[in-house]
Each structure stands twice: as C-alpha cells, then as structure tokens.
Symmetry: C2
Subunit: 436 residues, 2 copies
C-alpha cells in the first residue's frame, strides 16, 4: 500500500502547482476524447494493435525502466509480493500486448442503441451508448494496469488519466510514452493516454477534485486506497474490489460438493477480491461436515480462526484460533479463514448482512427454499448457488475485458466490462415538433 491517507497529503505549494498541472492534463484529455468519441471501431482496433506492436518493439526500453523501479524498490525494502507485481519481463510484456490484441477482437459498446421507439406524437427516440469522456484511474504499482487501463479506455472511446504510484514511476513513464507515440502514428492524439505520476500525491488529490473535467474515477487497489478516493473525491467514483466474501453451507447439502467449493473459494488464489474469507456452517451438518472441512483447510496450509462451536468440533491435531469480530470483518487476502457455526439460514443471512462487503457470497445447498431465500435476501453484487466465489470475474462471466469489480450500487455492480465505461445519450428527432 503506497497510497497516502488524507492527513499526509502534501504542502499548499506543491498542491497548487500540481492542481494546475492536473487541470491542464484533464483539459487536454477532454479535447482528445472528443476525437475518439466519433472514431470508428476499426480505427480503435487498429490503434490497439499498433500499441501492442509498439510495446514489443520498445521492449528493451520498457524493461530497462522497469528494472530501475524494481532495483530502487527492492533497495527501499518493498516486500516480495509487491516486487513481483511490479516486475516485468519478456513473457509478461508479451502477455500484456496479447491482452490488447484480445481487446481489439471484442465488440465495441459505443453506438449500441439501448432503447428506442417512435412516440405517439411521431418523435423518433433513441438512447445510444456513448463514451464517458475522460476516465481517471488511480492504482498501485502495477505496470500491467497502465497498459490494461489505456487499452480498455481506448476501446470504449474514452481518454484516460493514469495515476500509477511512485514505485512504478519509470516503468509507467516509459509505457505511457510508447503508447502515446503509437497513438500519434495512428493519427490519434497523444493526450488520450496521460500520466499524472510526476505530480505525486498532490496530483492524485487534484484528479479526485477535477469535477467537470473528469467524468469518472476508478480506484484499483487495496481497501485503504479505495476508501481514500471515496472520501476525497468530488468526481463520481466507482468503488471496486474490496471482497469480504462468504460461503454458507446449508443444512441440506451435498457435503462433497460443499467441501470442494469451500476449499476452492478460499485457497484457489488467496490474494484476490473474490477469494472467500469466512465459511459459515449450519449446525445441522456441522458434526459431519466441519471436521472434514477443518482437516482439509489445515492440510492446505490455511490458518483457521473459529468460533467456540467450531473449536469444539475440531479434530485433535487441527488448531483453531479464537475468532473475534475482527476476524468476521477482515478481508485476509492470505492463507487465513474464519469459520463459524450458525443455527440456521436466518443467522447466516444476518452474519452476511453485518459483515459482507457486498462483493460475492455463496450458498451450498440442495434446498430450493434456501437457495431462493439466499439469492433474494443477500444484498451483494454477486450471489452464488453451488459455485465457488472465485467465478466472480469479467472473463468468467464472458464480458471480455474487466476494469474491476464494482461493490457499489450506482452505475455498475459486479464485474465491469467495456460497457460500464460508457454512458448514454438520448437522440430526439422530430419534424418541427413543439410542446402543446
């Protein structure tokens, strides 16, 4: 987590020059967005291919810049997980370029007629999908997001302003330079993809306050980053990615299936937002199911935090730490899990209501009644029945590209594809119509 809290933001002097710089960048982005808004799908796809080519042609330059970031951050003591996210190599760069070519194959959301009719008075009404305009992205030191965000913005017809964090400064500078040059060669404005990293923290704040110039801001990263943006921004924000996800094992259940789903949801990939953090087990099945679950978790190397009932049912040799409210509240993103025995479906629903972050919650059940109640009453972006929480993903859902997973209710909820970076415009065509 390299992002500052509001208390640590920079001095007044830094702020005012950063603000002027960011406002200028946003103004230029707005002008550039105009030319892209009416560009054909072919033009955008050719630009994506050109950027992919340019990344490979300029591989040496990009990897050298990246190596400088990695060396500096390793020296500064950045942990290995974050260093791994920061590092690029030939293979990763090829993967990033490939993702751009995949974007080029996706349908273009812009221009879709969402609704339309001829009104009784003869007016022809159409609601068209159009680009947002200028999209801001605030994320942490992951150079792949720089290219990914640029590609997604381009395909959805938007200009993008990137704030990628100081740890990836040289990588992102090189990447944005290469992308902008490729766009210019395709006859598109360089200002479509700009970085504000040189303005540091004050620049990030200026971006959050650039209402009227920036149409939407998408923070990608940890809970701390996202909460800072939500609190500071006057620009509309789409909150993404915090996932305190649950698996509830119902009284009537296929225990083998439930075991596989619980283990997969927790351990398939622990550092992602759709990983499960708490497993709730109905007390009816707890005596038979829970010991198997705890053994499988322990064998998988998972540290278990359980309530008293769970601890009582733990087979000897399986350690269960005492869970507190802190555990129910935590998005571990680690090989830890919280386990609780609940008396009934209502208690499971109540636990989820209290502690879920509204990302993804799953039920394992063979009861139609339980399934219907769970899907109706759990107020989360994605509600699963007999499927791992790990399926909450734009790719798995068939949306193609994914910008992030929205955990708010406004505009987009759940995995966000290209269409979620667009808005709509009503076109009203008359023949001299006036209101009577």
């Amino acid at each position: 987590m390299t992002f500052p809290t509001s208390e640590t933001f920079s001095t007044a002097h830094e702020s005012s020059s950063a603000e002027a710089g960011v406002v200028d960048i946003a103004r230029r982005a707005k002008v550039a967005a105009r030319s892209l808004a009416t560009a054909s799908t072919d033009t955008k796809n050719r630009a994506l291919e050109a950027v992919a080519d340019a990344l490979l042609v300029n591989q040496q330059r990009i990897l050298t810049a990246n190596q400088a970031d990695v060396d500096r951050e390793r020296e500064a003591g950045l942990d290995e997980g974050l260093l791994d996210r920061l590092a690029l190599d030939e293979g990763r760069l090829r993967g990033i370029a490939g993702a751009l070519r995949d974007l080029a194959t996706l349908p273009d959301p812009v221009g879709e007629v969402v609704r339309g009719s001829t009104l009784p008075n003869g007016i022809r009404l159409r609601q068209l999908r159009v680009p947002m305009g200028v999209v801001g992205m605030i994320y942490e030191a992951r150079p792949n997001v720089t290219v990914d965000a640029a590609g997604i913005a381009l395909k959805s017809g938007n200009a993008v302003i990137l704030r990628g964090g100081s740890a990836a400064l040289e990588s992102n500078t090189a990447l944005v330079d290469v992308i902008a040059a490729a766009l210019v060669q395709q006859g598109l404005p360089a200002d479509l993809v700009q970085s504000i990293d040189r303005y540091g923290r004050a620049g990030a704040v200026a971006l959050m306050r650039a209402r009227g110039l920036v149409d939407v801001l998408v923070p990608r990263g940890g809970a701390n980053l996202i909460q800072t943006v939500v609190r500071e921004a006057s620009v509309p924000v789409i909150e993404t990615g915090v996932g305190n996800c649950h698996v509830y094992v119902d009284a009537q259940v296929d225990e083998d299936q439930a075991l596989a789903i619980a283990i997969n949801s927790k351990t398939h990939r622990i550092s992602v937002c759709n990983a499960t953090e708490t497993i709730l087990v109905n007390e009816v099945v707890a005596p038979s199911f829970l010991p198997r679950l705890l053994v499988a978790l322990a064998e998988g190397g998972v540290t278990i935090h359980g309530d008293a009932h769970t601890q009582a049912l733990a087979p000897s040799g399986v350690d269960v730490l005492t869970a507190t409210d802190e555990d129910w509240a935590t998005e571990y993103l680690s090989m830890d899990v919280a386990v609780r025995v609940v008396p009934d479906l209502d208690s499971a629903l109540e636990h989820i209501r209290l502690w879920s972050s509204g990302h993804t919650d799953a039920i394992c059940t063979t009861s139609l009644l339980s399934s219907e109640r769970f899907t109706a009453e759990v107020d989360s972006a994605v509600v699963n029945v007999n499927a791992s929480t790990r399926f909450t993903d734009g790719g798995e859902f068939g949306l193609g590209a994914e910008i992030g997973i929205s955990t708010q209710k406004l505009h987009a909820r759940g995995p966000m594809g290209l269409a979620e970076l667009t808005t709509t415009k009503w076109i009203v065509v008359g023949d001299g119509h006036i209101r009577q």
Copy 2:
C-alpha cells in the same frame, strides 16, 4: 433557495446530535428496505393505492398544516412564486393522490432479468434488477415532491429519507405521518418513508455523509442546492436538473419550423430545466430569420440579450441588450433569452461545448450532414433535431414517473424513471462448480 451553503452549516453540538438522529433513521430505513425488496408488485401497488386514499381521508389535517406553512412563509416574505409551489389545496391534493394511482399502473422494474446466459462450463448466469435500498432526497419546499418521492421509492422497492426544507416543515410532517400510517395498515414498515426535517441543516449534512447507509442521494432544486450536495456528499449523488439549453438554427433550415421551435423552447414554460436559454443562429440565415425571431420574442414579452451581430440585425422597435459571457453562462429560468449569430456549425458546437450544462441542446436543420454532426458531437444528455427542448421529460419519453433529469454521466443520464432507482445483482447457479 432555502438551502445553506457549507459555510453556514450549524454548530458542532447541533451537528453531532443531528448526525446521531440521521444515522438512526438511516439504519431503520435499511432494515425497512429489506422487507420491501422482496415484496410483490401487488403488495407495492396496494400500498400506493392505500396512501392515495389516506391523503384524501386526511385532507383536512394536511391542508391545515400546509396553511400554517404558507402563512408563516408569507409573513417571512417568501416570494409569490415559491409560495405558489408551497401551497396545497383540494385540487392539488387530488392531483397528488392521482399521481400515486398512476404509479400503481406502471410496470415494476424490480425482478427484470437484464442479461442472462448459460456459460460454457454450465453455470447459469442472470443479472437481475433489484432495488437500490435506501434513497435520500434533498429538495426545496414543495410538498408535492414529498409524496411523489415516497411513491416512486415505494414502487421501485426502496426506502426513502426525505429532507424537504424548513418552509414546508408542517406540511411535510403531516404528509409523512399520513403516508407512514397507511403503509403500516398495509403491513409494511413505517420506516420506509421518513423525514429528517426536524434535524435542520445539520441533518442534511449528516445525510450526505451517511455512506454505507444511504445508497444514493438525489438532490432536486436549484443549481445552488445541487452544487452544495455534490460538493459535500460522500454518498453517491445523481446530479439533476440544471439546464442551460440551446437551440441552434442551421444554415439550411425550414425557417417557420425553426421559429416555432425556438419560441416554444424558450416560452412554453420558463421556470423549468428544459426551457431554452440561448438561441444560436447561423449567419447565412440570420438576415432573413433573426428579425422574425426577435420580433416574435419581443411580442412574447421576452427580454433579449444579444451579441453585436444580433443587435445590428434587430428591427427598429425591438430592444436587444448587450450579451456578455455572463449571459451565455446563465440558466435564466425567466422571460430572458440570449441570442448569438455564429459563422458556422463548428462555432455553434464550440459555443455549446463551452456553455451548455449538458442537459438538452437542439438543432433546427434540413441538412443530414449537420444533423449527424450535431447529434454525434454535442455531449449532452438529450440532443434534439427539429424538436423543442421542452420534450426532455420522463412523461414525454414514455418512462411514466420521473424522479428528475440527470445531467451527469454515471448511472443515469437524462430523464430518470423507476428503473434508474434500481441496481442489479448477478445470480450465479452451478452444480458444485469450482475454478480450475
């Protein structure tokens, strides 16, 4: 305009007790919303009918409370226009009740399957329309909005928290009491419709900051109110209703049609957001068209603010005041209009880009090329071709109820119907599916 700016917000003591009160109200709203989220359309429609009945049964009480508001505000010097918006009578109350019965006849957006498919791996995926949860409304002293907002929230499955302004305090208190009692009689929780008016300005601020408890905030009123909410709120806001609308009269045009559209757009109803404020005239048609336009405006009692070219073409006897940037920027909402002669379509587009509030802008033209460019390049919620700007309206668009007209790009843009007060939820149904 009765709403405070941030500078005039209340003392720390008032704030903290107001905050506790509003948080408690929001918590109760959230609980109440849960029971409504799974209520059938029939239940909601019966409740709407019951509220309509109760308004008429309790007419005496409501009108007495309203008379007290009107008397007090007249004494305090509220202007006649605002007094007229504040005042209720038997006829208006019947109209308000009738609007609730109309709401009952509209389709229910909740439960609609927005998208759905069976994924290659066999998972059944559905995206369902569900209520937002808790909707906040901040508006000015218009008691009809109290009932209207309650009805729209109810039909879309949401609890609502109302902040209606001190001028209508007694009217709103009576209305909310009557509505809540009618809901209880229908077996629904009273907390579905609550007012925070008793907490004054500090209560409004607390509502704006109740992120996590309030899902969306819709301010309805003047530009000052809306900008305050946008600036202060951490809750997601839908910006509504500021309309600096334009009519552009192109070089190739049916002048009679353009004259009718320009006059209708300006004068049909001056106090509303879809009224036109600036008329742009292409210089090719200005010598023939502009004198007719200016005479018609003057005869209609409109005060004209024009650029030098417009002044030069004004027939004798028609006064044209000198327009400044202030005029291009102003949403008059009065019998004033700004008029400018532009050399070409590009200049008209540039003027609109600079000054439009992104609500509704219209072109009058017989040129397909001009029409296509105008609709593609004007970045407003509604773009009209040969139709009055006054058509931007949920009723005219066939959406049924209208909550307001969004001038932002996130979530909703243009007239907002019931569906715009909902969000979606993904339901993922598997048979023990795990990620490989």
